[in-house]
Amino acid sequence: MEVVLAIVIGFLYGGGLYLMMRRNLIQLIIGLGLLSHGANLLIFTAGGLRKGGAPILAEGEKAFGAMVADPLPQALILTSIVISFAVTAFALVLFLRTYQTVGTDDVDELKETDS
């Protein structure tokens, strides 16, 4: 399972970076989205894939009897999904506004502040 996910993550990173290096603003934002999905899946995979039960202790128990799933990576991913949702929403508005003001969606045309 780890191998499959590793390949998927690799594709997400590769695709994300490829799209980010394109000149189109829309492709840039899709690339950013893919990149954050890749990072989320990476946390999920690195946190350990286990087919255990839910990590809930019954009353009176002090330790888990069997191997349980680790809830923390999921909490981390949830937080980072929310953050990347907000940031992507902002980026979309920013890009739309840029398109309206500058009149182009070509990143190469935005080089006036570079020098």
């Binding site: 994300g16 980010m20 603003l25 840039l28 950013l32 990149l35 954050s36 890749g38 990072a39 989320n40 990476l42 946390i43 999920f44 995979t45 690195a46 946190g47 350990g48 923390l72 990576p73 981390l76 937080t79 980072s80 953050i83 907000a86 940031v87 902002f90 980026a91 920013l94 890009f95 506004r97 840029t98 003001t101 500058v102 990143v107 935005l110 080089k111 006036e112 502040t113 570079d114």
Partner: protein, 498 residues
């Protein structure tokens, strides 16, 4: 359990919420922002006095014991950073009250500024890696909006670069966190340090360290990852640029110092050598880029990059004296750089331009402003007896003691070139006669103009004071550096407190 470490976060949050409640009333917002900034400074002073004897203030949020919940921990480095944030907050919000245009205030400059301060403070106090990521995102989101607020063409073009590269850095940071969690099973900084000390995981740890170096390097503006900085920083109004230059890159540097003294110290030969090489290249490329510029804000913005190089040099040398130098340099550069941006903003307010070719003769017209500028500029270049001199000499002595001759040569050379850039601004803007007389756009009466200049006077006094009282400053910084070099005290304070 003490609530003290959480105050630097909750106070700006409360201020921001209050500001949003008075969304339509700019005057109320101004007073809330100023009042909150003073409160931030006061809390920072309080925290400073509570930690200056070397105790580490620890708070376990929600009373979850240390490695399980989120820990806030303030050591001496954190508290000096909090103090600087407080000083910056007061000065910049006072400046913004006078300088910023009405539409930007109406669209929420003050609440955003306070949220930015909350994020910065949060990054300085947290003792948990994922929490650090969250604070980064908080301050980044606020900074995205502040940067684009106003929607001018150059601002939007700059924002796109800033947003894209910072999101890339966040993705790298997050991936690093994921792998580190997979290795250690914890994200508490103290426990990470503890685990890394116990079992060497060698190569994988080095790889994760490099991911963090890249992530923080983008945010800090380290070579070769700094190209977003000169493209975006000069675009917004002076108050925003001053705030950014003082705080944002410094959060990146702070995080790098924190991670590379606490967690990634297993392979200093390679990792810190890499940082040292990066530091040298950062210094050189920043200062060379400045020589080609003839716009005041751009010169100052690329100089941020070369100053970052000096701070990283201390981390790269990785001795107690070098870290002392880094801490003094951090304090010095935050104050001086902010001041220079504010002064540049004041000049723009007077003359309506930042262009070195169009400006001139300001020394005759505004001797007071000129003196403020020259003191800060000389301090940045490292002329004694100002703060920059003592910061640089500490770093250079540390370099000589570590026998890293090449970085010492680079640091001295870059220092000369900094002097060149600063005298260039001085000669063009203040000394040479104005090519064609520009009308004085400043509608302020004399008394109000003096109040407007107060933050700059304050920062200049701090620069001089840091030079005059270099002894106590050095003593404090060297104790803070000693704390960084012996992470055991941090680990004990955090894990023992549960």
């Amino acid at each position: 359990m003490t609530v003290l470490p959480s105050l630097p976060i909750t106070i700006p949050l409360a201020g921001a919420v209050l500001c949003m409640l008075f969304r339509r009333n700019i005057r109320v917002q101004k007073s809330i922002a100023l009042f909150t900034s003073f409160l931030i400074l006061l809390t920072a002073l309080f925290v400073f006095s509570a930690t200056k004897d070397g105790t580490i203030a620890v708070m376990n949020v929600g009373d979850w014991p240390a490695p399980f919940g989120i820990t806030l921990a303030i050591d001496m480095l954190s508290s000096v950073m909090l103090l600087l944030v407080g000083l910056l907050a007061v000065g910049v919000s006072a400046y913004a009250c006078f300088d910023l245009d009405e539409p930007r205030m109406e669209f929420g400059f003050f609440p955003l500024m306070l949220i930015l301060l909350m994020g910065v403070n949060g990054a300085f106090v947290t003792g948990d890696l994922f929490n650090l990521y969250v604070w980064f995102e908080v301050l980044l989101t606020a900074s995205f909006i502040l940067l684009a607020l106003g929607g001018e063409r150059a601002q939007l073009a700059g924002s796109i670069k800033y947003v894209t590269l910072n999101l890339l850095s966040s993705a790298l940071f997050l991936a690093g966190i994921g792998i580190l969690y997979g290795m250690a099973g914890t994200l508490n900084l103290a426990e990470l340090a503890h685990l890394v000390k116990d079992g060497a995981r060698g190569d994988l740890l080095t790889m994760v360290a490099i991911m963090f170096m890249m992530a923080f390097g983008i945010k800090a503006g380290m070579f070769p990852l700094y190209f977003w900085l000169p493209a975006s920083y000069p675009t917004p109004p002076a108050a925003v640029t001053a705030l950014f230059s003082g705080l944002l890159t410094k959060v990146g540097v702070y995080s790098m110092i924190r991670m590379f003294t606490l967690v990634f110290e297993s392979d200093p030969e390679f990792l810190h050598g890499l940082i040292l090489a990066g530091a040298g290249l950062t210094m050189v490329s920043g200062v060379l880029a400045a020589t080609a510029q003839y716009e005041m804000r751009k010169i100052l913005a690329v100089h941020i990059v070369s100053q970052i190089g000096y701070i990283l040099m201390g981390l790269g040398l990785f001795t107690e004296l070098a870290l002392t130098g880094s801490i003094i340099y951090l304090a010095h550069v935050i104050i001086v750089k902010t001041n220079l941006f504010l002064i540049a903003g004041a000049i723009n307010r007077l003359k309506g331009t930042y262009d070195l070719h169009k400006l001139g003769g300001l020394y005759v017209e505004r001797p007071g402003l000129s003196i403020l500028f020259i003191i800060s500029a000389m301090s940045l270049a490292g002329v004694p007896p100002l703060s920059g001199f003592f910061a640089k000499i500490t770093l250079i002595i540390a370099g000589l003691r570590a026998e890293s001759w090449s970085i010492v040569v680079v640091a001295l050379g870059v220092s000369l070139l900094t002097l060149y850039s600063m005298t260039k601004i001085w000669a063009y803007v203040f000394w040479k006669p104005a090519p064609e007389p520009l009308p004085d756009l400043n509608p302020m009466p004399k008394g109000k103009w003096f109040v407007f200049l107060l933050p700059m006077v304050g920062y200049t006094v701090i620069t001089i004071a840091m030079g005059v009282f270099a002894g106590p400053v050095f003593d404090y910084a060297s104790e803070a550096a000693a704390q960084l070099m012996n992470p055991q005290s941090y680990i004990d304070a955090v894990l023992g407190a549960g």
